[in-house]
Subunit: 566 residues, 2 copies
């Protein structure tokens, strides 16, 4: 230990400068940071053949001020109309604002903004105060053929509201952020689409105080972007949370919606089930702003019983064993764990570093028992629900893991993982400051295709010299799961990064994975859609688009693969 | 007991005469019967003020031969084309066949056929041998503008394939009735749409022998029509089985489908979840043959562990208590019972007679403990899945039922109910032979609206002098349940019955219930659809219809409310 290098890169620990590019592309809380710990830093240096010297000078920071000039494409009388509808204080023609609400959280956008490059931005930012303003805005935009790009929490990783055709950025989170109706009898909460995760969860957790409810409640949906995404966004992009194996994916959690479209408003029925033909509610799932604006959602809520939560972690000798056990757990019908994730060997290797388990007594015991680094695979889990139900899951999981050769790591690793689970994206900025790119792509698989998809994608990433490729599965179903790939490369050339990224999407598609399990389509994977779904299915989506939005004003362009990419 | 009347009506116990109307409208197995037991018979006499004398002569039997003459609307060259596609033995222009495959199981159809009245029948019956024949048939019909009405098991209770506009009856169950792929790893079975419930379940139960599987499996879907309905029918009508509270509704159980439509074929992706835009799979749910013909389905299967099944029954002091307990069970997150049904006071009254519990020691004990007839409410349940999981459900249910004042009736009543659960529809023929109509309507409700819907519908039925009105809830969700109304009336006038029936649908709609929980729409409730869903939602379904079926050949007419009723 005494020989250990004591150099530490000067990771940025200050909020981005006001008005800077960094203030736009930085993930999450401006004051939020998660710097690579020393283990990870050493690993990265060794992987990319770097020395401390490479971490003295930053490549880019993006802390330069946004000083672009872009004329708005809207005419003055049009801007006046939006001011008339939503008030002067809720309309902004300023370039900084227009860039901010046109930008998501892709690596590509961060790379460009770090270089001071700005592509298209919207012509105007509008923050509607309520749903009748949204109705008026859609009506007006439909008349004037002004495109509308809805912005929720801004966490899109696929250019989900990139203003390809100009028009307005419609920001839903500024004002449409309240619970409209709390119904304990039905266990539902009707919520405005722009409400952010923590605010929603706070209301539900405090239902006894706020509504005199008999129970506290939870929304059950905790994506990594939880703190910076909206309830409406979760639904229209088909999101999935870290406890989805138990609670279900976002779309499963919505009973009914109110949507405003160019051809009128629809409030879907919110029966728990009904057999009255194809459901408009289902059609809106995954529509990603192309059919209309979802303004309210009736969400299924669950009793909040944190004291019932069970924690468990295991280490498996290898990936095959971890997958076997996971399938057995998923198909055994004793109820599903809430958090349920298995990491492949390389992710386990880095995860043990990140969660501070490397070199602990647990690590030593693992090694002693023959669980080898770069072979062993970590399993993290929790169980929610009724106490005896949750305990039975834990003991059933334990039995299955043992059967497949796992060692019980106690609850320690998952408890170490839990508090930091929304923080990993913060690592990205630190690395990119030194020209290192960390990015993710994800897919869904059936059990019988999991290994093929995993191998083909990993082989592809690893075929590039010096890459880190970590994979986990974290959303389980009886019939399969997802695969989430995190890769880290050293790359300064934008096009080289883009080509590499594109190649991985190709591999996902070729190996038989879905184009996305829960990130949605946006514009990033749009060009793969026709070959993935087939022209006949694309034509169905196009027919819906034409019906709902005959003037093509709702998130127009290549979104979802509806038009050729620009 | 010695004073008890020993007269028994001469219930028909013979299969319908060959070629008779009765052979068409009789439910289920021609040799299957469930006659009213003495308790029920006495009750009916007293309710309708009848004597044994009224049960000597039958009002109608429908055992007369079908001797109608209806020219086929198709031209000879068209019929030849179908013969060319599917073979002579699979095409029939005979009136009896055309009537048979145009007829469902509504009371209205039975009443008409008993009177020898025949409305529209299709022009030709075709039994395609495989999906490529279906593809050829749809292509040809689309060219020639010949309507296609798909017939699965024939159990529709809403005129779901009534050939309003002539054309062909396409019978799917004759040849498309096999499991195409059994996949134990993914726990799926890909099955042809025309496979009947028992055949499908038989294959799954025998997977170890048939496929060398490690486990036996079950399909998890057991509607009352199980023995006489098809897998494809379950899906396209949004059916629900008697164990749906645990396994899910039919549409939840399908991962992917292959559908042939006038604008081409679609095979949807069968990932367990994916975020690639609105899903065509979802759109086909509930499409009831109006968009195309589903030819194959990939069905989620479950491990078959009958030995794990737990049985339990309770009696509650009243309906309110039974509903309270059911809600608590549904929202407590210890897992859902599989069979889960509560009967209101009147259904309990008759149910205890039907299941042979009246006057047993259990009945005496109930009365002694103060559970009064026409107030007390029966709860029947089972739990499936992993053994400890199922046991925990049983003990948790027990605790909640006790809390709401219920008495434990042991497993006896549910075990008495189980073997006869597909048999109740057989009662209908016996009663109708003497001019007594037994019919059902059903709806879904949210918890906070359950009592209003129940009361308004019951009040309506009971406002007609001398009616029996039994209600149960048997499909439970965290957010609500269904209500299933069974009414029995003495009525010889067809129009009076139809008006009464229509009035009950009105009440369901007015009280805020859905138009249907799992019977589907068909043509019977089509006229309520626009006001129920609103024109904007209807227009979405119409836009889909127009896209998939531009020449309006798929189940054309008022189905789903797409066109004005004829």
């Amino acid at each position: 230990m005494s020989t250990k290098n004591t150099f530490k890169p000067n990771w940025i620990n200050e909020p981005p400068k006001k008005g800077s590019f960094r203030s736009i592309f930085k993930f999450g809380n401006p004051k939020g940071f998660k710097h690579p710990n020393d283990n990870l830093y050493q690993e990265i240096k060794s992987k990319f053949n770097l020395t401390d010297a490479d971490f003295i000078e930053k490549t880019t920071t993006g802390n330069e001020p946004v000083e672009i000039k872009k004329e708005s494409g809207l005419e003055t009388h049009q801007i006046d109309k939006f001011i008339h509808i939503s008030g002067k204080e809720n309309v902004s023609p300023k370039e900084y604002e227009r860039l901010k609400f046109s930008t998501g959280k892709t690596v590509e956008e961060a790379l460009k903004l770090r270089a001071g490059k700005v592509d298209k931005i919207s012509d105007l930012v509008v923050h509607p105060r309520n749903k009748s303003e949204i109705s008026a805005i859609i009506k007006y935009c439909n008349q004037q053929k002004i495109p509308i790009y809805a912005y929720g929490g801004g966490s899109s990783v696929n250019f989900g509201y990139y203003p390809e055709k100009g028009g307005i950025s419609l920001v839903l989170s500024t004002h449409l952020n309240k619970v409209v109706e709390f119904n304990e009898i039905n266990q539902t909460a009707t919520v405005e689409a722009g409400m952010m995760g923590p605010a929603f969860e706070h209301v539900l957790n405090n239902a006894p105080k706020l509504y005199g409810a008999n129970h506290a409640f939870t929304c059950g949906h905790f994506p990594q972007s939880f703190e910076y995404s909206t309830v409406g966004g979760w639904f229209v992009t088909l999101g999935s949370g870290q406890q989805s194996s138990y609670y279900g994916d976002a779309a499963d959690l919505v009973l009914g919606v109110e949507i405003i479209t160019p051809v009128g408003e629809i409030i879907t029925k919110d029966y728990p089930a009904t057999s009255t033909g194809p459901k408009v509610l289902d059609i809106i799932k995954g529509s990603e702003g192309t059919l209309g604006i979802v303004v309210e959602l009736t969400w299924k809520i669950f009793r909040h019983k944190p004291k019932n939560r069970q924690y468990f972690s295991f280490i498996f000798p290898n990936w095959e064993a971890a997958v076997h056990a996971s399938r057995e757990i998923s198909q055994s019908e004793f109820g599903m764990p809430a958090v349920f994730r298995i990491s492949d060997a390389e992710e386990t290797h880095h995860g043990l570093k990140l969660y501070g388990i490397e070199d602990t007594i647990i690590d030593k015991l693992m090694k002693f028992r023959g669980f080898k680094p770069m072979e062993r695979c970590l399993f993290l889990g929790t169980a929610d629900g009724d106490k005896r139900f949750a305990r039975n899951i834990k003991s059933s999981v334990k039995k299955i893991c043992k059967k497949y050769g796992a060692m019980n790591l106690t609850s320690y690793p998952v408890r170490k993982w839990e508090p930091g689970r929304y923080k990993d994206p913060y690592l990205r900025e630190d690395l990119m400051d030194y020209g290192i790119i960390m990015d993710t792509l994800e897919t869904s698989v059936k059990w019988d295709n999991l290994h093929k998809v995993h191998k083909m994608c990993r082989d592809y990433v690893k075929s590039r010299p010096a890459t880190i490729c970590m994979t986990h599965a974290s959303h389980f179903y009886e019939q399969g799961t997802n695969l989430y790939f995190i890769f880290i490369i050293k790359e300064n050339d934008m096009q080289a990064y883009l080509d590499f990224h594109k190649g991985l999407i190709d591999q996902i598609e070729k190996s038989g994975g879905s184009l996305s399990h829960h990130h949605g389509v946006g514009r990033m994977i749009a060009q793969w859609m026709p070959q993935h779904l087939g022209e006949n299915q694309m034509n169905v989506i196009r027919a819906l688009k034409k019906h709902f939005d005959p003037n093509n004003i709702m998130n127009p362009g290549s979104q979802l693969g509806l038009e050729e990419p620009c």
